[in-house]
């Protein structure tokens, strides 16, 4: 059998089951009334309440309430789970180094504990990412602009790698920044850094950087931009090309 499960166990019973599950490398879920405290990158305390504790064999720990996509407390993979009975109660502790942090869950009562040996696919096939957008442009550069010629992807610069580097119909260098969804001002800042770095690298002076024909162009490719982002694009004389990661149906 792949699943073990106990209903309303004593704290000591719960401890045995937990230790066995850790030993087997099971994925564990514990329903119960507990308090939670965390100390590490920050520090937090959570009063008594019913929660779901998930313990993974890779060291991840998650404490979920009845609300939210995010766990109310957690510990990243690579941590170590320890269970014990202290003062007559089940205590589960998950710790890691670098940074030093500890998550402690103290159960007043355990309602349900289940453990399962996990097998099977872990590989997610995801479509619609920034990489899809890059592929799309490399296959059809004219989607960016007539005459646009990609020269390099992930081109290094002193400001980090730029998404796509190329030239336009006039052979002017072009830095393309890709975003898979609507963007705010931060993306323009990122593009500006790459353009500035490339200008420095090419030794462009302010003279040759004419009002109507910049020496290095910046193009932000994204489905859409916020008003503030549009302002900043105009300030910097960058262009925006509206494009989705995947063709509209």
């Amino acid at each position: 059998m792949t699943v073990t499960s106990v209903h309303d166990p004593s704290h000591r019973e719960a401890l045995w089951e937990l230790e066995d599950a850790f030993e087997r490398g099971d994925l564990v879920s514990v329903f119960g009334r507990c308090t939670v405290s965390y100390e590490g990158r920050a520090a937090s305390d959570l009063g008594a309440g019913d929660r779901l504790l998930v313990l993974k064999p890779d060291g991840a720990a998650l404490v979920h309430t009845d609300e939210g996509r995010q766990p109310v407390n957690w510990q990243p993979p690579g941590s170590e789970h320890h269970a014990a009975v202290r003062e007559g109660r089940l205590r589960v502790r998950s710790t890691r180094d670098n940074p030093d942090e500890t998550l402690t869950v103290r159960f007043e009562r355990v309602h349900q504990l289940s453990a399962m040996a996990v097998t099977g696919g872990r590989d997610l096939e995801l479509h619609g990412s920034e990489e899809d957008l890059r592929t799309r442009i490399l296959e059809r550069p004219d989607l960016v602009e007539t005459g646009f010629e990609p020269r390099e992807t992930e081109r290094p610069s002193s400001a980090g790698p730029m998404d796509i580097f190329g030239v336009d119909a006039d052979d002017t260098p072009v830095v393309v920044e890709l975003k898979r969804r609507r963007v705010g001002p931060d993306a323009v800042g990122q593009l500006a850094r790459y353009v500035r770095a490339l200008k420095e690298e090419l030794g462009v002076d302010d003279e040759s950087d004419a009002e109507d024909a910049p020496a290095v162009r910046g193009i932000l490719v994204a489905p859409s931009v916020t008003d503030r982002a549009a302002e900043r694009l105009a300030d910097r004389r960058f262009d925006h090309v509206a494009l989705e990661p995947t063709p509209a149906e």
Copy 2:
């Protein structure tokens, strides 16, 4: 009793339990072998395997494998859960509008299904946040610099609200940007936008913005900065003050 739990139920049994749990507003966990597909902001497919499905009464749905802090698939709060038996199998679907997205989990087999009525504390007391850092500085402005005087927090500007606005010992305006942990170049860009906005607002011309005494100063308060961030700070003639959100023990 607050918890209901079934072991190796038939798909139809599982369906009844799920519908009851939705009705009661329970927090639900399902262990089983399933395939998962998502369609919405992106699209993804996940082949058969053992996973833990968590369904929350607020509409959140999480699919967890045995690895990682993040669910391999999910649906945010506000979604609607629907369960059905299709082709002899339990199918759980979670949908929402704006954006339109759907998560579908098809179970080949349900190993364990538990549901719990959740009561009790949801309020987390968290320490060590950016707000703690702000409080710390407002109580002891000299931690930033001798003579520093905070005047306003969240002061509005055309580039958005700045964390702390104040003046230094020479009555020069100071924009303070707070970060709770080590920062990269992006934080400097953010600070630069606020400083530029304030200069424009105050009508500072390049004349009065002397080499050694800027008309508006920028200070980045963070535990530490990366090399690249330090360069960009130097370029802009901004200062860095090393400070933690909470005093070191």
